[in-house]
Structure formats: structure tokens, C-alpha cells
């Protein structure tokens, strides 16, 4: 009896230890969040970068990651910034390789143990270089549907950064959405040749208005200034511009980075290769992007039709066309 007792006591101690170790393990990993570096080619105030920056800050506040960043990193310095963070031993590098597609992949090949997840027009490379696109075109299509019903001159204009595939796709989606509710409407587009130059976007917007456009799609920040100045309506992209332009921006094609970030962080934390395409996490169907619109601007019927299409996109019965050709 005595023997049995001591055995069971030993068992008890052993199992307590095991249990303790198991319950302690997640506590240790939670205490040391993944160190994530963000390398922004533009200031973090730039709409696209701000979406990523906010998502990263939010994740850092929730204690899921530790976040360090560099902003306004020029193409010449970008590869060095990547190498420096890699040498510092950060656990995941988030950034944008549009201007340095080949160099960024070279850097990743030189640091095979550092996961990189980059906004890119190209594909993933190796095990440690993943990519994501900015596919908020679902929201742009839906905003276009509203814009089509609202234009009086039957002319809408878009102001975009550069004719790179995903910007093209976004503007084409907006134009398609306009066409869906107003086949008569004409659509014109101006590219400003840079990603962050609000005064230039404003100028381009004013030129569109002078040519008769009465709704502007501001793929770039600054476009809404032109619309506000001339008292017409505008559609925002990536972030919600309505609080800043309450009477001007009636709809926004929002993009969310958090789902992409969470997926990348999960992969990096688990040690899975990140060399894949994370784009889909940023789409409406996956909860990444969406439309935000002001009630009462478009007619209730137009809103109803738009929301029905939105539901079809979520259900997978409708897919917004992905046309990456340069819009004319």
C-alpha cells in the first residue's frame, strides 16, 4: 500500500511538472513577440503605407509583435535597409519591392533565414520572399456602381499613381462599376507618375474636372482636394477619407492589411516558409477590403443594388473583373 502511495505521489509530481511546463510554454512565446520591421518607401502618412503602418502599430499595441520601421527610404537605400534589419536579426520584414524588384529578391537570397513579405507586382521567390498585392478592387467596383448613378455630366475621372498592374486593376474595376449602373458614362484617367505627391494629384483632379468630370476616383491622396475645391463628389481609395472630406468623399474602397499581416506573422512564428502570395487575404471575400460609404448620397435603390453585389462577391457568385491592362 505504501509503495503504491509513493508511486502515485511521484506520478502526481511528475504530471504536475509536465502540466506546468506545457502551460508555461505559450507564456514564454507570448512574452517574446515576433520582431517585425517595416520598410516604407514613402512617408507613413501616404495612404497605402498608412494602412500597413496602422495595422502594424495595432498589432504591436496588442502585444502580438514588436514593430520597428523606416520611412521615406529611397530606392537607392532600400536594399541596405533590408540588409540592416536582416543583420539585426528581426523575425519578419514587411515592405514594398515595387521599385527594387530584382534587388530585393537578391537580398532575400543572401539572408535565407529572414522572412520577407513585400508589396510587389511580381511573384514570390525562394522560401523566404513572399509577396502581396493591394487588391481593394472589390470596393472600387462597388463605389463605381454608386458613382454611375450619381454623375450628371456622365463623365467620371480617376487619378492614379502609375500604370502598374494593381493600380490598373483598381481603376479598371472602378470604371467597370460605373459602367454597370450607367453604361453611357465616360471614364478618363490620369497618372501622376509618383506614389506620394498630393499637390500633383490635386492638379490632375482639377484637370479632370475642367474636362467635365463630376465625380473623381482618387486612387492617390490629394485628389479629393480638387473635388472639394470645386464642390463635386469624390471616391477615396485604401483608407476612409470621409472624416477629412465629409461633404466630398461619399465612398471609399478600403483596403485592410491586418489579415495579410496576421497570416505572415503566423507563418513566420511557426517557421513556415513565407515564399508565397498573400494577396488574397486582403480581398473583400477574406475580410481584407470593403466599401465604406455615406448613407443618403446615392439613392436607396442604388445602395440596395450595390449591397446585393457586395453580398454576391462575399458569397463567391460574382467576381469583379481583374483587368490589369493600362486604362485609357
Amino acid at each position: 500500500m505504501k509503495f503504491d502511495f509513493s508511486l502515485s505521489r511521484r506520478c502526481l509530481i511528475a504530471s504536475t511538472l509536465v502540466l506546468g511546463a506545457v502551460s508555461l510554454a505559450p507564456a514564454i512565446s507570448a512574452a517574446e513577440p515576433l520582431k517585425v520591421a517595416g520598410i516604407h518607401a514613402s512617408p507613413v502618412e501616404n495612404a497605402w503605407n498608412s494602412v500597413m503602418h496602422q495595422a502594424l502599430l495595432e498589432a504591436a499595441e496588442q502585444g502580438e509583435i514588436e514593430y520597428v520601421f523606416s520611412e521615406s527610404v529611397s530606392g537607392t537605400d532600400y536594399p541596405r535597409a533590408m540588409r540592416e534589419y536582416a543583420e539585426q536579426g528581426v523575425d519578419l520584414i514587411i515592405g514594398e519591392s515595387y521599385a527594387v524588384e530584382s534587388e530585393a529578391r537578391e537580398v532575400a537570397a543572401d539572408y535565407p533565414d529572414t522572412p520577407f513579405v513585400m508589396g510587389s507586382s511580381g511573384g514570390p521567390s525562394g522560401d523566404n520572399f513572399g509577396v502581396f498585392g493591394t487588391w481593394n478592387h472589390d470596393g472600387a467596383y462597388l463605389a463605381g456602381m454608386l458613382a454611375g448613378t450619381l454623375t450628371e455630366t456622365n463623365k467620371v475621372g480617376s487619378v492614379g499613381a502609375m500604370p502598374i498592374p494593381e493600380v490598373n486593376m483598381l481603376i479598371n474595376a472602378f470604371a467597370e462599376g460605373v459602367k454597370a449602373t450607367n453604361p453611357e458614362a465616360e471614364h478618363s484617367v490620369t497618372f501622376i507618375g509618383t506614389f506620394f505627391d498630393p499637390p500633383k494629384a490635386r492638379e490632375a483632379g482639377l484637370a479632370q474636372i475642367d474636362q467635365g468630370a463630376d465625380i473623381l476616383f482618387g486612387e492617390r491622396i490629394g485628389t479629393a482636394d480638387a473635388a472639394k475645391e470645386r464642390g463635386i463628389l469624390a471616391v477615396g481609395s485604401l483608407i476612409d477619407y470621409t472624416p477629412r472630406y465629409p461633404d466630398t468623399v461619399f465612398a471609399n474602397a478600403l483596403w485592410g492589411f491586418r489579415p495579410i499581416l496576421d497570416a505572415a506573422v503566423a507563418d513566420a512564428a511557426a517557421g513556415n516558409p513565407v515564399g508565397k502570395n498573400y494577396t488574397a487575404y486582403g480581398m473583400l471575400k477574406e475580410g481584407g477590403s470593403d466599401i465604406a460609404f455615406v448613407e443618403g448620397v446615392a439613392s436607396p435603390e442604388a445602395v440596395e443594388a450595390m449591397l446585393a453585389t457586395r453580398q454576391e462577391i462575399i458569397d463567391g457568385t460574382f467576381e469583379v473583373p481583374r483587368n490589369m491592362d493600362e486604362p485609357k
Binding site: S72, E84, Y98, D110, M162, G193
Partner: protein, 349 residues
């Protein structure tokens, strides 16, 4: 109060003033670093680490110094002859795009030993042409070249911007406005593997020595200096002023164009409109820091590169805004310029 040129420059002063300048610049930027909530002395240490602390940082500093040596020389040789070439930035871009265009369209497939010199020459010639135009305006119509060379920078960059968006646009670049690339075989060999450091550094340093030789040991060098010190006196002494200035312009513009060419062949392989983070303008500062001396240019370029790469790395390792690094660089350049000034002049009441 007036400034008087020093007859003698005490050695202690020449050594001490740059040190005081760096300390002053670091002290002022230290205030900003402290405001950003980072430990100031650790930040200074991190600047050194960022510039010299690893193989990566050393190679990056030297890679950064390479174009600065060449644009610094471009400014130095021109300023010595009082040819105010503010257009090295435009000449840099025109040299870069000429190299990319010739490389992608004409010389592709040639043996590197032939192709690389042709591409370097193409860049240099493009830079020359861009400076000869304002010089011609000056000689013919007395148009101030400070204005024309400065404004031609914008013309050149917009021209490059047009080319990379149209005829020279790389169809493989996913719509990004960048030029077609020079083939890999025609790039400058790397000095160190897994880094961006290329033999352009050696070329630049060798050219600095060559320029020093030309300026101090040849008739052309003497004439160029005479043209700068006193143009009318030079003419009176039999210096062919126009011809000398044309040669100076070819040298200056050629060096700036070569800087662009080497940056393309050594680092990038192709041209974008953000190829140069102001190398042409920084070259002017480098030349002033070096007191227009060709060998001093090498040291001044190195100093500028150290400050930039070091401060940039510091901002990343401490997580303070990148802009503080820019301010640190600017402060160190300004205070260094003031220091160089005081080694040459004294204040008299």
C-alpha cells in the same frame, strides 16, 4: 567685423576645426535624438557602428562614397576655373540614361571588356554635352551658368522620366517606370561578394589622382586655375580662355556623367527617377568641404557617406524617425563647411 584670409594655416587649427565641427553637429542633433526619446551617447556609437561596424556597413559606406567622389570632382574642377556647374545632378542622370540606352539597345552581347568602356564613355559624353550647352550660352551671350545649369537639372530629370516611361521602359518591370537593364555581363565586377561594393570605387579614386595630376602638373591645369583666379589677367597672359573653359566643362560634365554611368553599371543595372538621392547636389558640398582639392574630395566624399550611412543605420537600430538622420547629415555638412571656412579666414574687428 570683417573676414581676412589667413596667410598661414596653423596645423593645430587645420586638425582641430573639423573635429570641433563634428562635435558641434553631433551635439545639436543630440538634442533631437534626446527629444525622440533615444539614448544620445548610444546614438553616437550607433552612427559609428552603422558606418563601420560590420562588413555590410563598410561596403555600404564605400558604395555610397563612390558617386560622391565623382560628382565632388565634377564640382571641384569646374569651381576652380570659376565655372559654376550646379548641374551635376542632371549630368548624372543623363549619363545614367545614356549608359542604359546604349547598353540595352546597341552594345548588348559584346564582350564585357569592350562593352564596359563604351558604356562608361557614353555616360561621360552625355554629361559633357549637358554642360557644354550652358557654357556656350555663357560664352556667346553671357548667360549666367548658375541659373542655366541649375534649371537644366529639372529638364534632364524630366527627360529621363519621359524616357523610362516610354521608349526605354522595361517591359519586364510590371509597369514600373524604369529603363531597360544593362545585361549582367556588362556590369562592373563586385569587389566583395554579397555586397553592393563594386570596382567603381577604385575607378573613382584613380580618377581623383589623375585629376590632381592634371591640375597640378599640366599646362591645362595651370590655365584652368588662371581662368578662375582672374579671367582678364589670364587672357592677357595668353591663356585661350574659351578653349580652356570648354575643356573644363568637358571634364566636369564628363565626371558627373561618369558618376551616373558607374552607378548604373555598378549598383542598379537600370535607371529610375530616384536613382540619385541628390548625388549631384551633394557633390557641391563635397567639393566645398575639400576646398576644391581633388584628393580632399575623396576624403570629403567618404565623410559625407559615413555620416549618411551611419546616421541612417542609427535611426533604424534605435527606432527613431529617419528624418533625424537627415538632419544629422545636413548639420554635419553645414558645420564642416563653416569649419573649413574658418581655417582659411580669420575674423577681424
Amino acid at each position: 567685423m570683417r573676414f581676412e584670409r589667413r596667410e598661414h594655416r596653423p596645423a593645430a587649427l587645420v586638425i582641430a576645426t573639423p573635429l570641433i565641427a563634428v562635435v558641434a553637429a553631433l551635439a545639436v542633433s543630440g538634442i533631437l535624438i534626446a527629444l525622440a526619446g533615444a539614448p544620445v551617447f548610444e546614438a553616437y556609437w550607433k552612427i559609428l557602428v552603422g558606418a563601420f561596424g560590420s562588413k555590410l556597413s563598410i561596403t555600404e559606406t564605400l558604395t555610397r562614397a563612390t558617386p560622391l567622389i565623382l560628382t565632388g570632382l565634377a564640382a571641384a574642377v569646374a569651381f576652380r576655373a570659376k565655372l559654376w556647374n550646379i548641374g551635376a545632378e542632371g549630368q548624372f542622370y543623363l549619363g545614367a540614361i545614356a549608359t542604359a540606352a546604349v547598353g540595352a539597345r546597341i552594345t548588348e552581347g559584346m564582350a564585357p571588356i569592350i562593352q564596359i568602356p563604351i558604356l562608361l564613355a557614353a555616360g561621360a559624353v552625355a554629361g559633357m554635352v549637358l554642360l557644354l550647352l550652358p557654357l556656350w550660352l555663357r560664352l556667346k551671350f553671357s548667360v549666367d551658368e548658375v541659373v542655366t545649369t541649375l534649371l537644366l537639372n529639372f529638364v534632364a530629370i524630366l527627360f529621363v522620366s519621359m524616357l523610362v516611361d516610354t521608349v526605354l521602359k522595361d517591359p519586364m518591370a510590371f509597369g514600373w517606370p524604369q529603363s531597360e537593364a544593362v545585361e549582367r555581363a556588362a556590369r562592373l565586377p563586385k569587389l566583395i561578394d554579397r555586397s553592393r561594393l563594386h570596382i567603381g570605387l577604385l575607378i573613382a579614386v584613380a580618377i581623383a589622382f589623375a585629376v590632381h595630376f592634371v591640375q597640378s602638373r599640366t599646362t591645362f591645369g595651370m590655365r584652368a586655375r588662371a581662368a578662375g583666379l582672374n579671367p582678364r589677367g589670364a587672357v592677357f597672359a595668353g591663356v585661350p580662355l574659351a578653349r580652356t573653359l570648354v575643356l573644363v566643362a568637358m571634364l566636369s560634365g564628363g565626371l558627373a556623367g561618369l558618376a551616373g554611368s558607374i552607378e548604373v553599371l555598378g549598383v542598379k543595372g537600370y535607371v529610375t527617377t530616384d536613382l540619385s538621392p541628390g548625388y549631384g547636389y551633394s557633390g557641391i558640398v563635397v567639393a566645398m568641404l575639400a576646398n576644391l582639392h581633388p584628393l580632399g574630395v575623396v576624403l570629403a566624399a567618404l565623410f559625407t557617406a559615413v555620416m549618411f550611412v551611419g546616421a541612417d543605420g542609427m535611426s533604424r537600430s534605435l527606432g527613431i524617425p529617419t528624418y533625424i538622420a537627415d538632419v544629422t547629415v545636413a548639420l554635419s555638412l553645414i558645420s564642416m563647411l563653416v569649419a573649413v571656412f574658418f581655417t582659411q579666414y580669420r575674423v577681424r574687428r
